[in-house]
Amino acid sequence: MATFSTPSKRSFLTLPFLFPPSCESVTLQARRHQCSYRRAKQRLRVRPDASFGASSTHSHEQIIHNPPSSAPPVHHTPTKFLPPDDIRRTLRGASVDHGNSAQLPSVFKTSAEKRYHLNPSDIEEIRKLRLSDPMSWSRWKLAKRFDCSPMFIAMVCEAAPQKKEIQKQVLEAVQSRWGAKRRMAREDRLLRKESWGRDE
């Protein structure tokens, strides 16, 4: 019978290496005369982690799961991604701590919940408005009017060709004013962004 036990976060007072055995009694001057080998040896005399000791509650065999202080490796498949008949699903069942994922703050301010409140007639209207008057009905304005994201507007319809042409000219005009430094910085930023996907 093997059970997993994840060590709890240790408090500052249980970290023995911060307190050498004779720390309080020996003054700083007295320690100076100790030979460096003994000093180093004393510092290394660390009590083992609490999770390694034979605990009174678990008298039977157990596996000590002490996760390393590093990012999880990619070859470690998350339990959710394991197929239902994989044996690792049951093996890991005990050690998985759900923790406090619900309390963690979200990256984005807005809620990610989708509402699906627009019907086909609304989408028809979005397309009509954007084609009829592309200068006044921008993506942002349409998004505000129909209470959806500009991304959704882009997914639903495309800008008129003349509007695209104008936008391209505006962008070129802006970019033509960039100097060498800014241009290089922008290009570097794009290259860095591409490297995210390669995990570099």
């Binding site: 990256v107 995210w196 995990d199």
Partner: protein
């Protein structure tokens, strides 16, 4: 003192046309040369043929030293005399059932000797198929969820021409400057491309693809699976390839690169082992030389929109939609902030990543989650070819995945 061999020295000076003997004579010698990889019955027939022909006065030249200078590649008899060849045989721990003559034949590229009975083309074809088979079954059984583009890349990394050329170099195979009958058979013989030739100049034609002249058209992944080779590269259809190759003496004008010739040699060795020593020896050779090489599959992925792919994946598999949450952060208002973002589906963490901005950290976390999905590997993997061993346990079906995420 060594005897000076003026004739050998002058060979590089003499142009092919200046050599004695015309095309007809060369043709005659072809029929006299004996193959190394033939059945005994065929060999006996050949010997009879040679005995009959040797009565003919015009073939007396076989005895003379000029004979080997007329050949495009070393004669079969020279294989036993080559120290290089024997050393290569021993260095690779090749089975003793694989004769030196076949190893010598596998060192002769089709550009050096166009005659199919004396070059390594047929051995290389067999070896190439074996290598592709063993590698693909290993990849697909070990990582059943890999996307097809990554499988292409992994195949290229294991048995691609670049890797095979590197292997030939690591085996200590040396190359002949110019192929010929008097060259040591332990050297790799091929005709080199002329310096300054642009290899990528002309577009690939004759691939058998519909609309191949339309270069601007997008090539879909499905069409790449059907029409292209195991590395996702366009492959030429060999419809009439056999016809010109069988004509002896037809000079292959354009040579091959050293990389191509080395790759062909390594494939030919694999095919030769399969022919002479059998399937288990070939499998062992593959495992020892190819599969033992180091390759980190997780480095072969390049995602363009990982967050979108991950949400599509969760929708397909019926998981809760992924939500990015900040696990820890430091220095948000400083010049070098660090955010650690985890991607959660419901209560479960799928992956996490660290970055200098929230977007970067989220993107890296999504990449980590997708790699966690794609790099799933079942326990106790067995490949189908393991059933060919004697006394193999009954086959249990391997894990088959739905396929990659389609956006």
């Amino acid at each position: 003192m060594k005897r000076l061999q003026l004739q050998r020295w002058s060979r590089s000076v003499l142009s092919p046309r200046a050599r004695t003997g015309g095309r007809l004579q060369e043709h005659l010698y072809y029929s006299l040369r004996r193959q190394s990889t033939v059945s005994t019955a065929l060999q006996a027939e050949n010997e009879q043929l040679i005995e009959e022909k040797s009565l003919d006065p015009s073939t007396r030249l076989t005895k003379s030293s000029k004979y080997e200078y007329l050949l495009p590649s070393p004669p079969v008899g020279a294989a036993r005399k080559s120290a290089k060849l024997a050393a290569l045989h021993a260095r690779l721990y090749l089975p003793s059932r694989l004769p030196l003559e076949t190893l010598a034949r596998s060192l002769v590229d089709a550009s050096a000797d166009p005659h199919p009975n004396f070059n390594n083309e047929s051995l290389a074809t067999l070896g190439h198929d074996l290598l592709s088979h063993y590698t693909s079954e290993h990849l697909i059984c070990k990582y059943p969820r890999l996307p097809i583009t990554v499988i292409f890349a992994a195949m290229y990394a294991y048995v691609g021409p670049k890797t095979l050329a590197a292997m030939a170099k690591e085996w200590g195979v040396e190359m002949a400057v110019v192929p010929g009958g008097e060259v040591d058979p332990g050297l790799l013989q091929f005709k080199r491309v002329l310096p300054g030739t642009d290899l990528d100049a002309e577009p690939v034609t004759g691939t058998g693809r519909p609309n191949e002249h339309r270069t601007s058209w997008r090539k879909s992944m499905t069409s790449r699976i059907i029409y292209d080779n195991e590395f996702g590269d366009p492959v030429k259809v060999s419809a009439g390839a056999s016809a010109p190759a069988t004509v002896p003496g037809s000079q292959n004008t354009q040579g091959v690169t050293a990389e191509q010739a080395s790759a062909t040699f390594v494939r030919a060795v694999m095919g030769a082992i399969y022919l002479h020593a059998g399937r288990p020896a070939a499998k062992r050779f593959f495992e020892q030389h190819f599969l033992s090489r180091h390759l980190n599959i997780s480095d072969l992925f390049n995602f363009s929109q990982p967050a979108r792919d991950l949400s599509r994946l969760c929708a397909r598999e019926g998981f809760e939609p992924p939500v990015a949450k900040i696990i820890s952060e430091t220095g948000r208002k400083s010049r070098h902030p660090v955010f650690v973002v985890g991607i959660f589906s419901g209560q479960d963490k799928l992956g996490e990543g660290a970055g200098a901005s929230l977007l970067e950290a989220r993107s890296r976390a999504a990449v980590a989650s997708l790699k966690g999905w794609y790099l799933y590997s079942p326990l106790n993997v067995r490949v189908p070819s393991s059933m060919e061993e004697e006394g193999a346990a009954p086959w249990k079906p391997v894990y088959v995945d739905l396929g990659e995420v389609i956006v």
